[in-house]
Amino acid sequence: MSVVVKKVDLTWLDRTYLWPIAKGLTITLKHFLKQVFKPTPKRLTVQYPEMKRPVLDGYRGLHELKRNEDNSIKCVACFMCAEACPARCITIEAEEIGDINTQQGLLEKRPASFQIDALRCIFCGMCQEACPKDAIWLRKNYELSCRSRFEMQLDKYDLMNTYAGDDGRERVEHIERAAPKPERQPLSNQLG
């Protein structure tokens, strides 16, 4: 089917160019004045570092490893998340727990180390889906800048503290650790 384009007959006023130009000028002037007198928060542009848009529900930002009420880690080192991860960015080492955790019943395992390579992570949320203990969440922090690649290798304690400030909880430090903190290896070494 062909479309017949209607030819617009220009009036003599339109053919002078000047009248249409004057109309165009009033339009741009209207926009100008509107924008000049509009306060910045009402403008379309969000002035980013000072103003932020609300993050939508279901957004998958930086991970958090959840803790129990006594600040012990919820994770039981079942490796479900590491298996589910399509980017293979989670590396877990499990260890036995010597003492009995009364909060969560009898637990036998916990991660000795839990590393996420945030540079490799694709923030798909599969680990969160897979976790039987609801121990890993992807929350709303999207400002993941850092000065070196190494800082993006997050270990267990980094991950337990990622939202400590936002939630008003105290930070978990390396006290409960039995062995000294292992030196972080680049991912290539870990994959061997």
Binding site: L25, T28, L29, Q35, L44
Partner: protein, 370 residues
Amino acid sequence: MDYTFTFLGLDIPIIPVAWMLAKIVVVFAGVMGLSAVLTWAERKGAALIQDRIGPNRAKFIGNFRLFGIFHLAGDGLKLIFKEDLVPGHVSRWLFWIAPLLAFIPAMMGFAIVPFGQSFEWRDFTFHLSVIDPENGMGMLYPLAIAALAVYGIFTASWASNNKFSMLSGMRGAAHMVSYEIGLSLAVIAVFMQAGHYDPHRIIEAQTGLWNVFAQPVGFLVFLVCAFAETNRLPFDFAEGESEIVAGFLTEFSGMKLGFLWLSEYIHLVTISALMATLYFGGWKIPFMPDPVGLLSNWLGPWIGPWLGVLLSIAAFAAKLLAFCWFFIWVRWTLPRFRYDQLMFIGWKVMLPIGFANLLFYAWLIHRAAA
């Protein structure tokens, strides 16, 4: 009183020489500063017209932002410290002088324009234009200088040895030359009505009735041709970034590019000043034909004249800035013409209208004389 000092066997009167030097410094610094501010005004105006926010990040001393005006300093510093890249295929000598060829004529044009009312002090008459009146060049001088602007663009494009630059130079030269005729025809009608081509006399002749009301058609022709002369949209064929990369600017970088840009804005300032002088009564204030005399009568001979001079300068500056803003406003409203449309408007519309305007006023003057 007659203060002179002898230098190399010449008796040099101190006051006129000092006054001339002061004028040169103030006018050149003022025009350069204004054209630099215009680059900011253009960015900010474009942003506001397009419902954006525009430059507002550069800070000066703490958190002092002032609508992003310090981006000027940032832009300038960046251009100065950037690598001054000279591509291997360019004609080196022309490549170096092209920015100057664009910049110097642009700076020179403003010299004739009176930016305030002349005043008398201690037997001297002080004129507020770099070149004193009755010099024999009058308004022919800025038109002649404006014609030289073509050489800047054409040299830049030729030196670049680049197909896009070459196209831009050809287009720019062709349209600037063709619109110059319309411009001159419109101005001649003004000369005839004033009876002289000296800017001071033209401004005096506009007492009571500005030329924009006396010669509206001539003003329109002048306005359209002024857009073409300054290479501004809708006639920015030399740059034409959507068609020929950046035209004659393509190969330039660093401060050479800065000079080419700056000269464009200086052209804008100069042509705005010409428009204010020729059609809007220069420094004249409506219903106040002689601010210096009037304020001297009101406030006495001590403050009155100075206030009057300042007032006339303010009036001129207001008109100048209004036209500068108009250029920016039009740039962000209209798209570029097609090249054949440009030539059509130049030769088949502006030229005949300019001629008709000229003949009409010639006939009017002839009839009034007879």
